[in-house]
């Protein structure tokens, strides 16, 4: 019983440690988010994110736009336009990471 507790404790502290650096989603989730950006966001914003019915989301197009405003647009949508709210499907941390990779151009 005692022996079994140690690895559990270690796992728990590892999770805590990971939580402290939890800005970045896990690798598998990151892949899923990039897939979402390309293919599902891409259905309106273009596969290369160069724009479509929705505006372009390239690093150049987003240059100078505050990250917080972009995160709010993704989480809560933009009323009066087809941009839907994604909260409920995406967490705030995931959206923060998505805005980060959009702005640095690594998903284009």
């Amino acid at each position: 019983m005692r022996r079994a507790e140690r690895p559990l404790l270690m796992l728990f502290s590892l999770l805590l440690l990971a939580g402290a650096h939890a800005q970045e989603p896990a690798a598998a989730r990151r892949d899923a988010l990039v897939h979402l950006l390309r293919h599902d966001c891409g259905s309106c914003h273009g596969l290369t994110l160069a724009g479509g019915l929705g505006p372009p989301l390239t690093a150049r197009a987003l240059d100078g736009k505050p990250a917080a405003a972009l995160e709010a647009t993704i989480l809560y949508g933009r009323p009066g336009t087809p941009m839907p709210p994604w909260h409920g499907m995406l967490s705030a941390a995931e959206v923060r990471w998505m805005v980060h990779v959009l702005k640095n151009g690594s998903v284009q």
Partner: protein, 400 residues
Amino acid sequence: MCWCSALYIQARAYRAVLVVSAALALSGFGQPRGTADLGLVIERASGSVQVIDTTAHSALGRITGLGDLSHASVVYSRDARYGYVFGRDGGLTRVDLLAGRIDKRIVQAGNSIGGAISQDGTLIAVSNYDPGGVKVFDAATLELIADLPATYGSEGKRSKVVGLVDAPGQRFVFSLYDAGEIWVADFSARAQPAIQRFANVGRQPYDALITSDGRHYIAGLFGEDGLALLDLWHPQRGVRRILNGYGRGEQALPVYKMPHLEGWAMAGDRAFLPAVGRREVLVVERGSWQETGRVAVHGQPVFVIARPDGRFVWVSFAHPDNNVVQIIDTQTLTVVHTLEPGKAVLHMEFTPRGEQVWVSVRDEDRVDVYDTATHQRIHSLAADKPSGIFFTARAHRIGL
């Protein structure tokens, strides 16, 4: 020449023939054949198309180098040999289905959303987001014939153009997303198109269809509950609203993928239309254009496509319900079957007489063929992130 060297030459020639025929067999291109059972499958991420044979359920080969094919669509020349592929990046590519190669290619705008071929097959029109408008090209040479900027308002702003279709009388009909207008461009005098504008048709028309007789043009509205209808037999009567307020004031759901309207939505005298932001298919009687029913479905409909005989309607759905396809009985207006083809069903195309339907399943990298009587999957083809499927039978259909 001695006997043995003659044999040697013959053997070499034979081997050369073998090599050539092996190359042809490998690609599937080059053999004499008809095109009426062929089609193109868009591979959106890799900028390629597969030429497929709907009789053999096989691919003749792949044609690459078509640019950004997200949301790409295809129309066909009237001899059904050439497909015109409209890419997102403004690319217009004329593909030779028999030779398996690009015949001509231009990049005509920065951002595009599909196109149409004229009644007589001599003109190709492309619908552009940026710069907003329609460009018309010679179908044989892809030389520019006319540029129609979609300008509106006092400041001369340009609107994104959607829902471009061909109509009888050498006309193209399209909708202006930002302006809320429908335009009819008559190209009977090829160099001098006559444009008729219909303003205030409704907020944010997002796509449109034309009935298979070319009479009724229907634009779906994103910005309000309803659709805009233009009777092309009587354009002077103007655009009228149908299914107005179909949401009955209820809050619409967020839309994770815009619905698509295609000329396949008519089943007999009924049109089956996707409700925006609702898990419903709307049923409207042609003529009175009154709602005669609505069918509750699994998710928000994207494609609502009637089997060619009109007996059933197949429906695909928006993210995150896009792993499912449902089949509606057009007599009882109920869902009679639910299929789960796999992750991200993007498009469905029926064979011309409707015995089979091809379904693209993007995230499974597969195109599946279903028997429409038994609903059984009878075949699968590998494809790289497949989206639109377009059969050459479209060559002979108004509005497609």
